[in-house]
Amino acid sequence: MTQEKIFEPLTRGFAACSGCMMPGMARAVLSGKPDDTDIVVVVASGCFVVATDIYPRTAWSGVSMLHPNFETAASAASALCASYKVQKRKHHLPNGNTGRKFRVVVLAGDGATFDIGLGPYSGMLERGEPIIYVCYDNGAYSNTGEQSSGSTPSHAITATTPGGVLRSEKAGGKDLVSITLSHPAVAYAARTTFSTMLPNDIKEKSAAAFAHDTGPVLLHVITPCPRGWGFKPSDAYSVSDLAILTGECPLYHAEKVGRDHIMHLDYLPERYLGGILHPDVHPITELLETQDRFGDLLKRLDWLADYQEEIDHRWLGRHGLIAKCEPYGS
């Protein structure tokens, strides 16, 4: 493996926090781009665009990027697909009809996706173009100071939930993959993160995303954030691994087969081995202790019990992951 890769869309000098996992996320989700495909990246407002584009400098190298209004990344992506199609038909593409493939990739944070952008996101999924939508999710609006978003976990301290006040949706944040799979045109949806245990998960799912070109694709990348979560920059991988082990961050993917979306687990935590609860194995406190944002949650036994139940229910509930996914390892 050499340093000189043919497709290196982002230079160094990325203006993100020390230890931020965004640059790694971006490189990993774009790594699956085949050589015969041209892309345009649409970035929603957030840390990513601020880190890669401060006039007159940009970290983008050889790839076009569009930053539209905050909540409309998905809408802009749809229009790019339509533009390409019609210009190709009418023979006025800037480079002519080269016969190469074209995909649009959206990079949007959880802030841009779960709340203000959810309507446009749903519209994009329903229109059905084969857009790759990457939601890099750190559970808060980071760029503006860590305000809570529709993805913030229950009881986490953010700038707008200080004291980890119980949010009104007792069941915790929205399930983006489920929302996505309720749109029939979706070709592939996956949840992924960084890990030393499954080091190639993001890259493999990026390759799958590019391979599934019959409809929209979601890559939901849980992206640890040292500043927002309150851990040392060096610990991102340890935190991520614990999130997987404790079941707080499930890893799975879904593919469209016929009219169904078939779901597959990519990792089954030992805590849920055999489809039953092993309560002493990797309790959620192991993860919570690694992050300052759970400081208040750790002080309240009732909240802890409630949160542990919430995590377990995600796996073992009637419509939990074990029920919905194909048998693990099959």
Partner: protein, 405 residues
């Protein structure tokens, strides 16, 4: 080819004419969200596409803001783009107008103008478009379905000009123009063959679909550069009058006459002049005829191109007039005048004019302006001392209202 073969006769309302123009201009992308009373533009375009009269991508958008963003992206990708809306939709789309202007996207936006909630009213008004007159787009007001067609065609030509690269808004009153059928001219197939080469294809100098010259568009710009980019945008607007003149001169010679900045009726020797936007001009002309019959030298002006505002033309037209009445179908509550009157008074201030200007507000939410009210308004111009100290517009036709014409 004689002039006659350049057009054919077509009975249609404003919305249908807008759609016809989109077809003749060979639009690439239409991304719209329906709202009364503009929806039929999109419906007609859909029919044209079905009948293979237009090859375009029509996106089913989930909201006006989404539609605006889709148009942004389509335009930045080098597609000729059309958007349509009214009222609430325009306000929901507001941020996109600023984006188009700032990012230099020549999107053509058709607005069937309508009152803005609250209360909810689907009838004509200029409140929606006036609220965004600072966003940086070119604005033309059409007085009939014919002009909706003409200005849409010309809009693409003017907006896409390399000297301009700005959005182009065609405003026409909801229902009164959008849904009223009239007898019109549209380009004949021979006319289209002459028109299209002149219009050309949209060539965006930098496009996100140019993979050999990739760009980053819409990114962050800090205080050290932002005002320079805005100056560039405004510089485009400063070139617009010359570009309009070139376009309208050519079109008028080759096809049929079109207005480029104002339309006048008996203004040359008039002493009392009314100024208005859009189809209400017809009413003004009726009032002028009635007043002239009684020996009052009345005249009327219609502002056609509202942005950029024809400052010098207005100054010239109103030089030496005894008094002017400006009719606004929108308000700026708390301000000294309503939008059109504000701009007109500003235009006259830095000239030698000492002409007193009276502002009127009329017709909000589709209320009919009566001929008698217009005539009364003209007559009030004869006695400036009675209204010269007014600190806000006079509201016409409000039952129980305290403003007296």
């Amino acid at each position: 080819m004689t002039k006659k073969k350049m057009y054919e006769v077509f009975e249609a309302d404003g919305n249908t004419m807008g759609a016809a123009a989109a077809v003749h201009a060979d639009t690439d992308v239409v991304a719209a969200y329906p709202i009364t009373p503009c929806t039929q533009v999109a419906e007609r375009i859909g029919d044209h596409i079905k009948r293979k009269e237009l090859d375009a991508e029509c996106l089913r958008m989930d909201g006006e803001d989404s539609a605006g963003a889709a148009c942004t992206a389509a335009s930045i990708a080098g597609s000729r783009t059309l958007d349509i809306t009214s009222s609430q939709g325009l306000l929901f789309k507001a941020q996109n107008l600023y984006f188009w202007a700032g990012a230099r996207c020549p999107v053509v936006l058709l607005v069937a103008t309508r009152a803005v909630n609250a209360p909810c009213n689907i009838h004509d008004d200029f409140s929606d478009v006036m609220s965004l007159r600072d966003a940086g787009q070119i604005m033309f007001f059409a007085k009939n379905p014919q002009e909706v067609y003409d200005f849409t065609l010309l809009g693409f030509k003017i907006a896409e000009d390399p000297r301009v690269q700005l959005p182009f808004e065609v405003c026409y009153r909801g229902f009164k123009v959008s849904h009223t059928m009239t007898i019109n001219k549209i380009l004949s197939p021979d006319g289209v063959k002459v028109f299209r080469p002149w219009l050309g294809t949209y060539k965006r100098p930098q496009s996100v679909l140019d993979f050999e010259h990739p760009i980053v568009a819409g990114g962050l710009v800090m205080p050290d550069y932002y005002i320079e980019t805005k100056y560039g945008q405004n510089h485009g607007m400063r070139q617009v009058p010359a570009v309009i003149k070139e376009a309208t001169n050519y079109f008028s010679k080759r096809f049929w006459p079109v207005f480029s900045d104002t339309e006048e009726f008996m203004v040359d020797d008039a002493e009392y002049v009314a100024v208005v936007l859009g189809d209400e001009f017809g009413m003004m002309k009726d009032a002028v005829r009635q007043l002239r019959a009684r020996g009052i030298k009345a005249g009327a002006i219609r502002v056609v191109c509202y942005r950029p505002f024809p400052v010098k033309k207005i100054q010239k037209l109103l030089a030496g007039k005894l008094a002017v009445a400006v009719f606004d179908q929108a308000i700026s509550s708390g301000g000294p005048s309503a939008p059109l009157c504000s701009d007109l008074r500003s235009a006259l201030y830095n000239s030698d004019s000492k002409t007193p200007v009276r502002g009127f507000v009329y017709g909000l939410g589709g209320r009919t302006l009566e001929l008698t009210e217009v005539v009364q308004s003209y007559e009030s111009l004869k006695h400036p001392k009675k209204w010269i100290r007014e600190t806000e517009p006079c509201w016409i036709g409000v039952r129980g209202g305290s403003d007296k014409i």
